[in-house]
Symmetry: C2
Subunit: 322 residues, 2 copies
Amino acid sequence: MTDKHITLALDGTGGDNANAKSMAAAVRFAIVLHPDLKILVFGSQKLKDALDREKMDKDRYEFYSAPECIAQDEDPRKVLEGYRNSAMRKAIEAVADGKASVAISSGGTGPLVVLSRHILGVLPDMRPALCARIPGGKDKFSFMLDLGANAVCNAKDLHSFARLGHAAYKSIYNENSPRVSILNVGTERNKGNAVVRGARDLIEQDKMLNAYGFVEGDRLFTSDADVIVTEGFTGNVALKAAEGVAKLFLDRSGIKGVFSKLARPDWLIPWQYNGSVLLGVQGLVIKGHGSAGADAVGVALHEAYNYASMNLINSIKKELNI
Amino acid sequence: MTDKHITLALDGTGGDNANAKSMAAAVRFAIVLHPDLKILVFGSQKLKDALDREKMDKDRYEFYSAPECIAQDEDPRKVLEGYRNSAMRKAIEAVADGKASVAISSGGTGPLVVLSRHILGVLPDMRPALCARIPGGKDKFSFMLDLGANAVCNAKDLHSFARLGHAAYKSIYNENSPRVSILNVGTERNKGNAVVRGARDLIEQDKMLNAYGFVEGDRLFTSDADVIVTEGFTGNVALKAAEGVAKLFLDRSGIKGVFSKLARPDWLIPWQYNGSVLLGVQGLVIKGHGSAGADAVGVALHEAYNYASMNLINSIKKELNI
């Protein structure tokens, strides 16, 4: 292990398939990939046992007992007032206390956003949003946000998402002037509702942004834009609809499964993109897919490591003049 | 030709690929399938020439010159006041005048909805919505609405969509008590925004409906529900996102294209489901996909024929006690 290392805080309880074994396998995967990585793992005794069985080097991870689980749709007030010993809260607190650079959780979006806003604080004038890295062809990526951090959004919120997505995309992909589009029901200027048309005006007036008009749902995975902004409800539903269809094509059985493997566009396989960043808070938080398996959690940890290594939060602040 | 025949009115101008040749091929396809079908075709001289070249029996179709085209995002007032000689208006007027049972158009959603509401009138207490037939497995279908007839929807609108979708599904599929779900970001009761939670309450209180909770975007094509209601903006984006991904898997080239054909779930191929019904107006109007080719327009004409044969509009009115 090198002297300078990256520390991540993993909520080991969240997620539909968050069984201890696949969480432990993901931890092993991540520390094998990155020799200077250390992971603080928060979870139940079952998870501790699974980690022990992996027989990893003890100075590569630390286990903390935090067995409380927060239900997906728990009341925000109860999330804030209770659950002092939940793995999700502990992981975010580790970031707030400077003990880890990124918190990773596959728990519910609602609790994760409420706790992150409360514990880490919100960047001035920003509306936090979940930002996914979506594929736009082989080795091409777009950022899409919000994916459900906000139940209702106005035009100003979408402008905030545009600024956050622009700053993150620029920092991560060294693209000087990322093209920012708004998801809409058509590409013509008069299409859509007041929210998207208002956001279009705000983004066009913002000289820091490269406004790139509207994009339709069938052009999400075609690199038509670098940053795609949308209100959280629609973004969540659209991305899940896309994943659902991809799975129907990928999960073929028997001989069709063999042909499917030979035919598939590998860059579209959903688990490869697990891990959405919660942009707009004063710290790095990554949300994994609720049904993430070991591979998918491994990918989220790998992305978290990359974002921590490049000090993404500072780059974003610099880009936003904060 | 039998004595009792079905007459359809086809707007031959709309659609991205609405070239005359594929429109004419679709007309031939439909009248070959249905010996008692007659089609009134509205369009340009170019379309007339293409129809002539198909050398179809002259008493199976009638051509009417209506060369005006309405832009996708034309101002609603201008749509209503002008375009007296547009094929879209003429086709809807043919339904209002009792000359045809269904109007079919692949033109813009905005103009089509505005003209249909104005010329045909709205069913009492109903909010018109575009309803798609989406696949839920081999020979299984769900109805999904709205897909963009409304830019903004409230809980009461979603309840109206539920009633319309229920009535149509029951009429078409002889299913006594179709399961009605609401598209949401999660299945738990507290998930989502005020609109979907309000709609859930209204639908649960409606004794005519079989309320079936929330459904997520990745379960659109799995027959989890028979009727899926959503506000128009999200519905449009989600369905296009699904279509976009399906196309990426289907449109493989070279040897991968061969394997793709062997592997694909045939029931997911998008063109097979072309044709959304505009429910909630006093007449049958079907909107085809903007990029529909000859096969897809043929499917829309075939569906239109079926709905006219069963007198869908009367069944819906009866079901709604109108």
